[in-house]
Amino acid sequence: MAYGYYPGCSSHGTAKEYDISTKKVCERLGLKLEEVLALALPFRNLVLAEKQGLDSIMSTCSACYNRLKVAHETLKRAPEILNRISEIVGEPYNKTLKVIHFLDLISKEFGVEKIKESVMKPLTGLKAVSYYGCLLTRPPELVSIDPDAENPTIMEEIIEALGAETPYWSHKTECCGASFALSRTDIVLRLTNEILKAARFADADCIVVACPLCFANLDMRQSQIASKYGVNYSLPVLFISELMGIAMGMGYKELGIDKHIVSAKDLLKGKE
């Protein structure tokens, strides 16, 4: 059975490479994806995925995942809200779907142990910290992809399976201020600077993310941070799917990593 794949808003824009690398990696692992090409309305997307005959819907974006999951869990618990929303949207929802994130797909559906078997070029010597941000774990009782919302390790387990090291660090679930990216850019620069500083302090070679919004702030804003705070981190930010692709022997360009603003070329030299 194919997994429903909701690509969200960024995967044809600022996070093209996340879409490209996710599809490539899933194909290699034999995970079949079927796109749910829908509007940005969580309830309606759940309904459409059900209508498409799918039993799951997977998002690569933390925000999409969070909204779909919160909608699904809330509707499961509160029939009166389900009735009201069905009336507004004009369609019923049978609550049969499994709402998952790409990390769930890899770690829980496929399995970390099996990931090790797919590694052709272990990322030996690479130090990668994982950044979860806000929406993959909060609020924990509804959405958390990891039992420990304050110190999740689901991404670290995947990174270790790829042969890389993943230093312990302080900022894995701190907020980057994503929703203020345009309206209060100063706040985003301050928060993002703190995250980059912490990653540098942990001696990381790169930050690994599983969300287009985290990626956008961390990758795109480094030159503005350099002018404002006087520190030029030049710290590559990679999507987890890109890191997996590299370890599976795929190429830098093939995965779309050449589209990053902070180049990861030197970092990945000799690893492809």
């Binding site: 808003c9 600022t14 940005a40 774990t137 907020c175 994503a178 309206s183 603003i261």
Partner: protein, 187 residues
Amino acid sequence: MIYQLNADVRNFGKTISQLSDVDIYTCYQCGKCTAGCPIVMEMSHTPNQIMRLIQLGLKEDVLNSLTPWLCAACETCTTRCPKGVDIAKIMDTLRILARKEGYQSKEPNVVNFNDIFLNCIKDKGRLQETHLAMVYNLKTRQFFKDADIGRKLFMKGKISLSSDKIKGTDAMKSIFERSRAFLGKGE
């Protein structure tokens, strides 16, 4: 600061509890929400102060406060509250109520951004990043904001002026209309 309390102190607190479905009276001022808030230094009141002001029924202070507009909805407060108070949801409720009742936000650009964001989803079915950034810059008269990043993204082929055609945008418009009718005017 000295606050003047009026007789029907509990009315505002009750309204907020009802609208948000969160019992604001269980807050006992431990301050854990404020300790974890990444944006607290920009706010006019700390999150726990907002909770106390609601309990005291000081509606004007709460709805004129900068704090709800600077909440990033990261939900660190909600996650850590020992009493299970969903503070992020309270902030959302306060933004909705402030707009409904005509309070002017002291962060107009945050309001502009939210409006443009929702309109974009209504008209195009999904968020189009380029469209969002351009309309936002025009509306707030910051014509060259993030032009450096825009140029780089364009060179990398990540943004373009054409947009995806999404099926079902008509359905989207009528869903917006029906939700507005349901919630009442003002949002």
